[in-house]
């Protein structure tokens, strides 16, 4: 240790690429740059920040990954609007890596779906009700095509959250929604009573929402979810097993431009 008085704090400059990312992020979150607007070319950013191309690009990659900037069809940079699906896939990945169990997923779905359906009963509009009805009709028509049924079922639950008009709940639901994917398909395949019961439940819940009866809607949603759980156990699965990596599809690979 030196004898010189220690008057100054340590200067710890963030790496340039982080400063670039932070600066751009701040412009976006502060609202000075609005979604859809062009960010400018890499060369322009190089000029503004006075750093090298490579440095700018590293910073851009981070923002790109976060969804704050996107590249349009011509690879030009535009300000993006981080949407839920993007976050959802990350949440899903985190949950799988943390080896969350089916029970945790189911219990969370119970809490969220019951809450959402209550609010939906208070707040549903004719439009959202029509969407719910249409979905059920399509589900009835899809009998036999289990993959399609599962797809529609997931969509129906999503519509309930949409009817609830709460985007925070909607975001919270995403990971719990993945409950429905492969396991549900298995259940429908193997348990004959599953599909009619599912359709009946969707009908009753939708009607309860239409009647603005939160208690009734809640009750039937509860039965519906317990039905799923019974089906899950019926096909010989263990609720306390971690969800598998089957649920994971590479996210980085999906970032390709379309």
């Amino acid at each position: 240790m030196s004898d010189i008085a220690e008057k100054f704090e340590r200067i710890n400059p963030a790496p340039a690429y982080l400063q670039v990312a932070a600066a751009i992020e701040k412009e976006i979150t502060s609202g000075r740059l609005r979604p859809g607007e062009p960010l400018g070319t890499e060369a322009a950013l190089v000029k503004q920040f006075g750093v090298n191309r490579s440095t700018v690009r590293e910073g851009i990659r981070m923002l790109e990954q976060a969804g704050l900037v996107q590249r349009d069809s011509s690879r030009r940079l535009t300000i993006g609007f981080p949407h839920y699906e993007r976050l959802a896939s990350r949440m899903t990945r985190a949950l799988v890596l943390h080896e969350v169990t089916f029970r945790e997923l189911w219990e969370a779905a119970l809490v969220l779906d019951l809450g959402a359906v209550e609010q939906a009963a208070l707040r549903a509009t004719p439009e959202t009700l029509a969407e719910l009805d249409a979905n059920i009709a399509r589900t009835e028509a899809a009998a036999g095509d289990w993959t399609a049924v599962v797809e529609l079922d997931t969509q129906w639950h999503g519509l309930v959250f949409k009817a609830a008009g709460n985007r925070v709940l909607q975001l919270a639901r995403e990971p719990a929604g993945l409950l429905n994917l492969p396991a549900t398909e298995l259940i429908l395949e193997r348990v004959t009573a599953a599909l009619p019961r599912l359709i009946d439940a969707h009908h009753r819940i939708t009607d309860a929402i239409r009647k603005r009866d939160p208690a009734e809607a809640r009750l039937w949603m509860k039965r519906h979810l317990h039905d799923w759980r019974r089906g899950f156990e019926r096909i010989g699965k263990d609720l306390d097993r971690p969800i598998d990596q089957v649920y994971l599809q590479s996210t980085a690979a999906n970032e390709r431009r379309r």
Copy 2:
């Protein structure tokens, strides 16, 4: 259009940096690379992938942003464990950009906290109960230091979710938890009755959890949250206003090594 028979599909290679990111991500999510393990130096990756170092670095930045790889104290790359706080800040940012209202946040918190406290009542261990008690004691001692009280209150609600033993709910709560930050401080400052009521509620809920009485726990949690809402309205705030950017702290800037 040419007359040559079109036998081949278009080859659309993903950019090299994405392939790098995807390849490493796959190794991690498949479990072949486990959290904490070193990923190897940039030079090593350059060799393995046969691409330029800049390219590797761009790929790394994406994984770094996603939390799948980290840099340790010496900036070497190690496999990371995407933790919830990281996702939470991302979710928060998305919600602010989407101009979510206080009402949505409050209603989501209602659904989540009520669900969590019920499960906590079924499942709390002596350890988590002790943590809840300790938190309340500290809250009582902190009276007057509103910032500290808010911090402890947020922590207490987090403990309820921890007691519920459901990581999906825990993750879902994060954005709703930010409800408590600046607004709560204002409420405590201006509404004299707020702190004693908060402490009383925390006591009663904790006791209900201890008694394994989900209904009682739920009831008091409901009152507790309605109290917050009354306080919010009392200080003249509008529930239907979007949450502000005050809630946003730059995430990129927080990525600095500590």
